[in-house]
């Protein structure tokens, strides 16, 4: 048996789908410049057309055809030499269609393998989010933005070649810088300019060692799948129970309504932004509650609406529908380390909560400047130049 290399690209569904695919193609074709056979594919049981949902693409490369075939004899690889995370908010873990429970981003890393994350944050900051691992590994970040684009678009901001540069640095035995350069120059649109971007990423990428057990110690949800005789007949599943009133954390008063939600699919890892709610400016108009596509809002005993941050997938409809200008603000997930209730915090200490809301809202990008796709003509060009600036600064 020869040597098998497996690379995993973790991305946000639909926005980064073409980006992830292009990276995996680049891996296979760069390694093929060294005569290695390879294959690239998406995790089929994902549903990568859903906005923001964590999804994966893979590239497997081998030193010979038989070894590659052995690598293909499964749905997806179970051990990776390098995992690349295309959006650092994914470091909180993945809950996709293809996985029950919360899967850490480093879950399938081999011992001493590399976790590379596109992020402007320091590795230490990311380790607050990234779960502990049972093997030591190397963590490296490289600066950039998540390169989100719309449904069928590809934001050609050089992120694909920069990721390839990072992989060449972390795993020269997969493909060398020379092989990568040859691939970019020959096969990638605007190749001459992109070689420069890839080179910067190649030269600057560096890693730190992460020890066994280091990182977020949050316990991971575990599920047991039923045996066939334990399942109901007729392709039926039992519906959710009805919800009930909530309880005020201070007075103990009961009221409002909290629905029972799925405890096997929580949805929050689809989120890059979360609603920060200023309960003091809320007019109790009900619009956020009525329009939330995921029924993520609870009705509190005092008639407010609190987003359940396990169930919220961060779509931002509440912010857009809210008639009050300073009530709901979507803020980057980087600002938060847990999913605890904002309303409970508000009830416990209103003054502290007011300060907290002001601080979090202050770092939010204004709604009209924020986009997963393109909202107006010319936005693509604007964003590309901003992205290239980041790319060239390294």
């Amino acid at each position: 048996m020869g040597q098998l290399f497996a690379v995993e690209i973790i991305y946000r569904g639909v926005f980064q789908k073409t980006l992830a695919k292009n990276i995996c193609r680049g891996i296979v074709l760069s390694a093929h410049n060294e005569g290695k056979p390879g294959l690239s594919f998406g995790r089929y049981s994902d549903s990568p057309e859903r906005n923001g949902i964590p999804a994966k693409s893979y590239a497997i490369v081998a030193t010979d055809d038989e070894t590659l075939e052995a690598g293909m004899a499964q749905y997806s690889p179970k051990q990776f030499d390098i995992t690349v995370v295309l959006d650092d908010t994914l470091c909180k873990g993945l809950e996709s269609w293809a996985w029950m429970g919360l899967q850490p981003v480093n879950h399938f890393l081999k011992s001493n393998a590399t976790l590379a994350v596109i992020s402007n944050a320091h590795p230490d900051t990311l380790l607050k989010f990234i779960h502990f691992h049972d093997k030591p590994y190397r963590l490296g970040t490289f600066s950039g933005i998540p390169s989100f684009s719309g449904m069928w678009n590809f934001k050609d901001d050089h992120t694909d070649v920069r990721v390839l540069g990072v992989i060449a640095k972390a795993m020269p035995e997969l493909f060398s810088w020379t092989s990568l350069k040859k691939y970019i120059a020959a096969k990638v649109k605007d190749g001459a300019a992109k070689v420069g971007s890839a080179k910067l990423a190649y030269e600057r990428f560096d890693t730190v060692e992460v020890k066994v057990g280091e990182g977020n110690t949050e316990p991971l949800r575990q599920y047991v799948r039923p045996k066939w005789e334990g399942m109901r007949e007729g392709t039926t599943v039992v519906g959710m129970a009805h919800g009930g009133p909530m309880k005020d954390p201070v007075t103990g008063e009961a009221g409002g309504y909290r629905p029972v939600r799925s405890d096997t699919f929580l949805k929050f890892t689809s989120r890059t932004l979360r609603p920060v709610i200023n309960f003091e400016t809320c007019t109790k108009c009900t619009l956020c509650w009525l329009n939330c596509p995921d029924a993520a809002f609870d009705v509190t005993p005092d008639g407010l609406y609190d987003a359940d941050l396990q169930a919220c997938c961060g779509c931002g409809v509440c912010e857009q529908i809210c008639p009050v200008s300073n009530c709901i603000t979507m803020v980057s997930e980087h600002q938060f380390t847990d999913n605890s209730s904002e309303w409970v915090a508000f009830k416990k200490d209103k003054a502290a909560y007011k300060t907290w809301v002001a601080a979090k809202s202050a770092v939010a990008v204004p709604l009209d400047q924020r986009s997963n796709g393109y909202r107006y003509k010319g936005q693509y060009k604007e964003q590309i130049s901003a992205a290239l600036e980041v790319a060239n600064k390294g």
Binding site: C24, R25, V28, L39, S40, F41, Y44, S45, E69
Partner: protein
Amino acid sequence: MATIAVEQHKHVEQEALITGAEAIAVACKLADVDVVTAYPIRPYDTVMQYISQLVADGEMDCEYIAAEGEHSQFEIVKHASACGARVFCGSSGVGWMYAMECLTVTPALRIPMVAMVGNRALDDPGAFGVEHNDALSVRDLGWNLIWVNSAQECLDTALLAYRIAEDRRMMVPVAISCDGSFLTHSQALVKVPTQEQVKEFLPPYDRGELLMHPDNVISIAPQCNEDWVMEIRRSNYAVTERALDVITECYADFERVFDRKVGNPFFEEYMTEDADVVLVGMGTLSTPARVAVRKMRAEGQKVGFVRLRWFRPFPAEALARCLSRFKAIGVVDRDYSLGSPHLSGVVATEIRSALYPGTGPKPPVLGFICGLGGREVLVPDIEKMTDFVSQAAAGKSVPLTQWIGLRE
């Protein structure tokens, strides 16, 4: 007279990193398909997306019609083909079933349509993983059915499918089955033949006297009852009598033009020469099977794998001759056939039937149902099934049908 040196296989093939579905789209482009109809369903939709891209990029010239459902999708190409157009379409799972009325008439009208079936579990429950029951549902109707195992085989088979389907002795449709995910969504390095090679291999579509055209006034599919139907059915039956020979001939010519060694067109034997027991299966099951066979061989077991390509026409005689050499056989079905003999899968039942009338030895045939809905079939699963077959070869009593990889 001056001699002209003819260089064999002088054409330089290009290499492309494409999925199996994209490979079929490339074959459609090379075959200069005239009419393509599309309606999205995963995993078939990868082929329609790629064809639409080829058309949009100006690389392919065809009528590309997005139908309002699979029924119309298959009806439109049927009519276009009757009028002399080379056609392509396809579907998956319940989409294929929704087109069923058109699928039944396509062979009866001698329409040489080529369709891609991205194999998908039939709803319910909603699932998009591979199961072979969708394509197998037309197994009695006159469709030629082939299962493939690699992106390269997708491209090659699509070219072969047009040649075979449009052969005047055939004039019946071919469905190419590609396992959802493994083939439809994995990009592999594929050798793309040149247009000249394809021209040499694939003559223009010629329906002859079956062409619907003002210069050839015919009526297609009249109402006719008991005094006509049996004779019409017999005419399609005659196609199946000729099919194995025509396919063999087309593959021989394919090998000549494209310089590829396919060998036996109907099934591929892997490490069977001195095998005591073998497993038989279709499609991408072959990948874990081959890896497991190599592993078990290294451990000293004499085992092999037979990958069945053409399910219709079923190569009964040749397969029976091959399989009767072994002490026991295990058939891996990625399908179910509820209430069938011994409650086995479709392929196991067909293989038992193929072995029965022969005068040769009749080794025990075990049926295994596994990999349904896209469930992984891993190397240990193959080892487990092989172990059961070895037990049967040793004369032990083993159930005729077992489910493998089930939570029980």
